[in-house]
């Protein structure tokens, strides 16, 4: 694989097509956990972990099992239509395992994330990354390694967006926002402006 392919995937996933700010996926934890920097970093760590492993497992399953032509009892079946079901099951299990591990090893982070930890399951960013990996290259999917790298880079991009937003929100806490805008309103306005800023990366990768 030529080295600039990796660079393309990584830069593309982090900056150009940032999962939160360009693809508008994963907004739920983006808005919900970005009030404090520590929680935001914890959440991005968890999501990156889930993204990497789920991208690997789903790509593996897709490549080897679902998209491959399997001959059973004389008939060739293509099970790629089950991809969403399988992907979700895999992601859900992974998140469950992470929840258990987090509860054991970092109870404070577990409590801080609260409801948003199991919500990683329904985080469209994770399913989105898996689907993007599966759907690329005209339905034949990316290679397993590329998928994993893509998943990891997506996680980094998510982390970057969350980090920036958390810092902005902490700073917003120290401003006298006009009454009608306080709370979610100004957060959404800020997110919009941040998304516009990231459009500047648009032509970095053709």
């Amino acid at each position: 694989m030529p080295s600039n392919e990796w660079l393309l995937i990584t830069v593309g996933a982090i900056l150009v097509n940032n999962v939160v700010l360009s693809r508008i996926l994963g907004i739920c934890p983006f808005l919900g956990v970005s009030k404090k920097l520590e929680t935001a970093l914890g959440m991005s760590g968890a999501v990156t972990f889930v993204l990497t492993i789920s991208s690997f497992v789903t790509a593996l399953l897709y490549k080897l099992l679902l998209s491959a032509e399997i001959t059973i009892c004389g008939t060739t079946v293509n099970l790629s239509f089950t991809k969403f079901l399988v992907f979700i099951v895999v992601i859900a299990s992974l998140v469950q395992i992470i929840e258990i591990l987090l509860r054991k090893f970092s109870p404070s982070l577990y409590r801080a994330l609260g409801i948003y930890l199991p919500l990683i399951t329904t985080n469209c960013a994770v399913l989105g990354a898996a689907e993007l990996n599966a759907g690329a290259n005209n339905g034949l999917g990316r290679g397993i390694l590329e998928s994993t790298v893509f998943g990891f880079a997506t996680g980094l991009g998510f982390g970057l967006a969350l980090l920036l937003f958390a810092c902005l929100r902490e700073r917003l806490e120290l401003s006298m926002i006009p009454r009608p805008f306080r709370g979610t309103a100004i957060a959404l306005v800020t997110a919009g402006i941040l998304a516009m800023a990231f459009m500047g990366f648009g032509l970095l990768v053709k």
């Binding site: 806490e173 120290l174 401003s175 006298m176």
Partner: protein, 446 residues
């Protein structure tokens, strides 16, 4: 064996209008004896003194009428001879109420302090000299009101090598220390020498801002005899602040939360030095001081020598009264002084000025949002971030304000002076300090 001082420029600072022209050319006058003086009891930082005389008792001028309430406290003395009157109340400088004792003058004004002159002081025991400073009821007369003998008693682990006399008087309008240094030059220098003897140091500097060239001249002429070095300082507010003064003269910087003694220095106001000299050489405790009565509404601005307990109303009468209704009455200077809401305040040991400001001369706060222009940051002499800290206080995030060193703020007012959004910054910091102290007290309890 003094090394030449290196006059460093401190960070920040502002150049407010001078205003001293109203009173700096006029020699100080001694106020005539009044019929009644209302002497507030608690004039010092630290414990209030305890009254020892009762109503109807006859007292002599300078006689002790209250004893110290602890180590960080000073005694109180009668400003004139006469009879002790009622225990009453007068408004304090900060809007509080102070207990005050009336002294009704008998017109004779006879001394009777019970303190003998200590001459020659050069041979007296240092502890005796220090005790005399305490017995003289002397507190920081530049406005700080901190008992002088406590300042002259640094803990043994702090080595002091320099005494700095604060003759900067950087506040606009005030000329009390200026006239004092011109008219009682030897007294100030001798007092400094006594203080240096108590501290056992031989490096003594007097810092004087260059807007007082005649005082610099006069002090320079007489200083040689005492082994004191006069240091003319560039005019900038707040040059007279302790830490800035130390930095300018010695180049030493006091760390955050620290005190001058941490860098081996003790700073005393020029007026305090003169009072030390009077207590030691004459046996006269602190009962009067140089005060500037000034401002455009004042008919005859000038410097007066008022006895402690002089009602401000009488002081203004002596200055010829007012020619127009003033908008503000400030005790102290316009930058760090307190605006009064009552005319019943009295002159205390640390009243450096009685300032009246006309309507057109006072600004009004708007409390509009911080526009983050950064002007306050560039003028803060303590290198703080006044604008962001004020926003933290508005959002009630005192932990963050404490983290940004709001406790180091000396409330000089430079930031408030330059703020284009007219925010009451110093008030925000006073609020923050009060809240942080309350939190610390509550934490100690648990």
């Amino acid at each position: 064996m003094s090394l030449p001082p290196h006059v460093a420029r401190f960070t920040g600072g502002i150049h407010p209008m001078d205003g001293k022209g109203l009173s700096n050319g006029i020699p100080a006058r001694t106020a005539p004896l009044l019929e009644k003086y209302l002497v507030p009891l608690h004039q010092n930082i630290g414990a209030p003194p305890k009254l020892t005389v009762t109503k109807g008792e006859l007292v002599k001028k300078g006689q002790r009428i209250a004893e110290p309430g602890g180590f960080v406290s000073v005694p109180l003395h009668a400003p004139t001879s006469g009879t002790v009157g009622n225990l009453t109340e007068v408004p304090g400088v900060a809007g509080n109420t102070l207990q005050a004792v009336e002294i009704l003058s008998d017109g004779k004004d006879e001394w009777g302090s019970g303190l003998d002159p200590i001459v020659p002081w050069q041979e007296a025991d240092r502890k005796v000299l220090k005790q005399r400073v305490a017995d003289g009821g002397i507190i920081g007369m530049g406005g700080a009101a901190f008992p002088a003998h406590v300042k002259l008693s640094p803990p043994p682990e702090k080595t002091i090598d320099t005494l700095i006399v604060n003759g900067a008087e950087c506040e606009p309008y005030l000329t009390a220390d200026h006239r004092l240094m011109l008219e009682r030059t030897e007294a100030v220098l001798e007092g400094a020498a006594i203080a240096a003897r108590i501290l056992d140091v031989d490096r003594i500097f007097v810092g004087i801002e260059e807007n007082k060239p005649d005082a610099v001249e006069a002090m320079k002429k007489a200083a040689g005899a005492f082994g004191i070095q006069i240091v003319p300082l560039p005019v900038r507010y707040p040059q007279g602040a302790e830490k800035q003064l130390i930095f300018a003269i010695t180049g030493r910087a006091v760390a955050t939360g620290g005190l001058p003694m941490d860098v081996g220095c003790v700073v005393q106001n020029a007026g305090t030095c003169a009072a030390i000299r009077d207590a030691v050489v004459e046996g006269h405790p602190l009962i009067e001081r140089y005060t500037t009565v000034t401002g455009t509404p004042v008919v005859h601005p000038g410097t007066w020598i008022f006895r402690v307990g002089t009602p401000v109303k009488e002081a203004l009468k002596l200055a010829g009264g007012v020619r127009e209704q003033p908008a503000k009455l400030i005790l102290g200077g316009p930058m760090m002084g307190f605006a009064q809401s009552s005319m019943d305040v009295t002159v205390t040991k640390n009243t450096s000025g009685i300032l009246l400001l006309a309507g057109g001369e006072t600004g009004r706060y708007l409390s509009s949002p911080c526009i983050r222009c950064g002007r306050c940051v560039s003028v803060c002499p303590m290198r703080l971030l006044p604008g962001p800290i004020s926003v933290m206080v508005e959002c009630e995030n005192y932990a963050l304000a404490e983290h940004n060193f709001v406790m180091d703020c000396m409330e000089c007012g430079a930031c408030t002076f330059v703020c284009p959004a007219k925010r009451p910054l110093v008030q925000h910091f006073r609020r923050a300090k009060a809240e942080i102290n309350a939190i610390r007290r509550a934490r100690k309890k648990h």
